[in-house]
Symmetry: C2
Subunit: 205 residues, 2 copies
């Protein structure tokens, strides 16, 4: 709501710095207003610039959003790698807590909310939603599947019938919480999800 830039005598930005400010503004607007209600004036104002620099880079609103998303997804700004291959310490429970916790915190961040807004636009803009699914959702699910398979190999849990399906249980519960309550679950709530739902499905009891 407030000016993102308090410094009136701020130096005039250009190039990559300005571009990043614009992307941040896109994410912020997207997360507050959604895609349909997002408007160029607001993005320019929040980035502390005019509309011309926006249209100099992208030809319209759709391209601008796609550009911001693409950049965020390809540079891992949204999927922070969690030190890449997670540290195989503490066993399955610890790994589940880390992965679901990171999912929840992503959902709280501006880029995360922006991605969510795009998935909600699935029917109107399938290509936007698909990009998010492919670059954001799938990798996380794959990482969860890997964690589960490693636990099976360690003999920690019996092999599940469908790793694909089981890997979705945790994320589904996190998502459900967001949809029902309007915000991602806390660490304590994630612990309940892990201990009372995910681990039991996996056969730890």
């Amino acid at each position: 709501m407030v000016e993102d830039l308090a410094d009136q005598t701020r130096t005039r930005r250009r190039g990559a710095v300005l571009e990043q400010a614009i992307r941040d503004a896109v994410f912020a607007e997207l997360s507050e207003s959604g895609y349909a209600a997002l408007n160029m004036e607001a993005v320019a104002a929040r980035a502390g610039t005019g509309k011309a620099p926006l249209y100099r880079r992208w030809s319209n609103k759709r391209d601008m959003v796609v550009g911001a998303i693409d950049q965020a997804l390809s540079t891992g700004a949204v999927l922070p790698e969690e030190d890449d291959q997670s540290p195989e310490t503490g066993g399955l429970r610890a790994e589940l807590m880390i992965l679901l916790g990171s999912m929840a915190s992503t959902m709280r961040s501006a880029p995360g909310r922006a991605m969510h807004a795009l998935i909600e636009e699935r029917h109107r803009h399938p290509e936007l939603a698909q990009a998010v699914i492919t670059h954001l959702i799938q990798p996380r699910l794959a990482r969860l599947a890997v964690a589960i398979r490693r636990a099976v190999n360690r003999g920690e849990i019996p092999p599940p019938v469908s790793v694909e399906l089981i890997a979705r249980v945790g994320p589904a519960m996190v998502l459900q919480h967001e949809l029902e309550h309007g915000q991602a679950p806390t660490t304590a709530e994630i612990a309940d999800i892990v201990d009372l739902v995910v681990l039991p499905v996996l056969g730890t009891r």
Copy 2:
């Protein structure tokens, strides 16, 4: 897309009949365009009427949508009661299949998609979303909880630590499917959810 009313010489409707046609049009538009992009001209056109009858009943778009939602939720047009108290036949699995199946088919219907669109507007219009949660989501969760408790009483499953949380597992998986694939799961997919996720969490093995 096509005219909902092929009959050119159709008699002029009024009162309750017309009102229902308008509500149907609201749901259809809401499910296709979402709340933000819904516009009065389209609703009027789809209902085969003019804007005047709309504004004669409601003072603006928001009230019109709220009105349609309220009516649908209060008359059970979206929550079809499933012969009210489900028929306690076939045990827990059968009941889960019925409840999740009905959830999936609701999500496929126009009113169901409309409700979904409103939940997605949670941040912009909390009162709309809350109505859906209270009148649509909560009753279904309550019904699931009842089914689980009955199964416990029958000795079919051990008492879970948190019925509240467990009751959300099935719906969460159905929702997750919708979000990831853009459509509700089929009966076969629901069967997998029930057999490989929900029943195992409940301790049937």
